[in-house]
């Protein structure tokens, strides 16, 4: 007997129109375990179907009833204040009013103080601007010869053409060009700006760009030590300029924890240059000077740079240098570094 026949028999049995012979046939079939299992499954499904049917009918009935109920929605009762309560209500209302006014005026005075603070902060920002802006402004008359408006320093962190410079060097840029003796003059694109850490990432976009050497230095992820000897390379003028000094404080301008104070004489144009330790590893990026203090310059820590490079909002993965292949003394290091440091020209 097939399962189809079995189910046919079962269905007819449930309606009570099975002949005697068929009943025997069915009983015989149910002796087989598979048939029994199929019959049980059928039974379960049927009981579920019946339950479904009953429930469905009830739901239909109730839904139709519900429509008639919804029409007789009770109207909201209006509650009027009794006359006796009017004075109390009046007092309550005036207390509420007074407290509202009081809170409001309190808020006002707090806001006033905030305003004072804000103004002060604005000034700080202005000071900070004058601090940081050691972007070299090229005079108008020189513009004919040299049309770039600003210049700063930058350096490669990947042989794929990724460079780091300061945010304030390229922030207003329409177009950016990089240039040094080793790679020549190339157009670059700003791919990331971070005003907070004063860092910017550039990428060389010209097709002719090629860099044969790999990056020989590491980006230090640990902080430098106080008194550590450091040096930098930069373009405060048309030629690359070396400067040396030491870490004079582990915080920057106004206790900024993301920067170092360094004792390297830097000039406008040095912004964005690499700050290097005795091994030739990168420990910071030159960012600014304090105008009223002699010999105080600041550099953004390489730890901030590391965070910026690893930032998720940069959609390109920048292959970072893995090991330091610098050998020899500082002169040898500078020879290698010289090719990695570029002048960043900004046009706007």
């Amino acid at each position: 007997m097939s399962e189809r026949d079995l189910i046919e028999l079962l269905d007819r049995q449930s309606r009570g129109d099975l002949s005697h012979q068929e009943t025997i046939q069915l009983e015989e079939a149910l002796k087989h375990p598979e048939m029994r299992a199929a019959a049980e499954k059928h039974g379960v499904l049927l009981s579920q179907l019946h339950a479904y049917g009953k429930r469905q009918a009830l739901h239909t009935m109730m839904d139709s009833l519900h429509e008639t109920i919804d029409e007789q929605k009770p109207k909201g009762k209006r509650v009027f204040l009794r006359k006796a309560y009017w004075p109390i209500a009046g007092i309550a209302a005036s207390i509420a009013l007074i407290s509202v006014i009081f809170t409001w005026s309190l808020n006002q005075s707090v806001q006033d103080k905030m305003e004072e603070y804000k103004e002060l902060r604005l000034e700080v920002q202005r000071i900070e601007k004058s601090q940081n802006a050691i972007v070299k402004e090229i005079k108008e008359k020189e513009k004919a010869i040299q049309p770039s408006r600003y210049s700063g320093t930058g350096f490669f962190i990947s042989s794929k053409g990724y460079l780091v410079t300061s945010y304030h060097v390229v922030k207003d840029a329409d177009s950016v060009y990089i240039e040094n003796g080793a790679v020549g003059n190339h157009k670059a694109e700003v791919i990331y700006l971070d005003a907070l850490s004063d860092l910017a990432l550039l990428k060389v976009v010209s097709d002719t760009f090629e860099m044969k050497t790999s990056i020989p230095f590491l980006i230090r992820t640990a902080e430098a030590d106080l008194g550590e000897e450091v040096y930098t390379l930069g373009f405060p003028r048309e030629d690359i300029v070396f400067g040396e000094g030491s870490i004079s404080a582990l915080t920057g301008y106004r206790q900024n924890p993301t920067a170092y104070q360094i004792s390297i004489p830097v000039n406008p144009g040095n912004s964005g240059g690499p700050l290097l330790n005795s091994k030739g590893d990168l420990i910071g990026v030159i960012s600014g000077i304090q105008t009223k203090l002699t010999g105080a310059a600041f550099a953004v820590k390489s730890t901030s740079l590391y965070e910026v490079v690893k930032n998720d909002s940069i959609h390109e993965t920048i292959p970072l240098p893995r090991q330091n292949t610098m050998r020899g003394n500082r002169v040898d290091q500078v020879k290698k570094w010289k090719d990695l440091v570029v002048m960043v020209r900004v046009y706007n």
Partner: protein, 186 residues
């Protein structure tokens, strides 16, 4: 007809008197609506909860051994209240301990029952929905509507009832597959 006494209503519902059930439904809905709309529920939610409660009451009444120990109103209120608290707890809007609340009526079984049955109902609804037409109608006509094979054959234009039987069998197999699909996965 006016059913004032609970006993009369129960007796009539047990006789499958639709009027009595309607009367019952109509009588107690406003109470449940107030309960739920005053406790961060919507009208729709009130309706759902109330219908579940009425169904569970109706099904309980079908059992001969069921004895109502309180007024219908109280019973429905207790079931609805508990159901609603449970829904709120699922929505993380109620953080109290439901278990500690009025256990005197012993409606926990009802509430669990409601949920089980509502789940089974939903499951069958989905399975039948997945079946599509004409299968759905053939199955419901035959097994729920108790229509004869000949009537179904005429309704769907099958040349004889054997063809209709074949079709019914195919539909049934598909429904089995759909309905028991979840069980197999578990």
């Amino acid at each position: 007809m006016n059913y004032n006494s609970d006993d009369l209503i129960i007796a009539e519902i047990r006789k499958h008197n639709q009027m009595a059930l309607r009367e019952l439904y109509r009588a107690h809905y406003p109470m449940v609506r107030n309960l739920i709309t005053n406790n961060s529920g919507s009208e729709q939610e009130a309706k759902d909860v109330y219908q579940e409660a009425v169904i569970v009451f109706y099904e309980k009444l079908q059992r001969a051994d069921f004895v109502l120990t309180c007024k219908i109103k109280t019973y429905l209120y207790a079931v609805c209240r508990r159901l609603w608290l449970k829904r709120l707890a699922e929505k993380k809007m109620y953080t109290g301990n439901i278990e500690s609340l009025e256990t005197f009526l012993g409606v926990e079984d009802e509430v669990n029952d409601v949920e089980e049955k509502a789940l089974a109902f939903k499951k069958m609804q989905v399975a039948l929905g997945g079946l599509g037409e004409p299968c759905k109608t053939i199955i419901t006509d035959f097994y729920i509507g108790d229509l004869g094979m000949e009537e179904i054959a005429i309704k769907f234009g099958y040349t004889n009832s054997d063809n209709a039987k074949n079709q019914k069998y195919k539909c049934l197999q598909r429904l089995k597959k759909l309905f028991f699909a979840d069980d197999k996965r578990n």
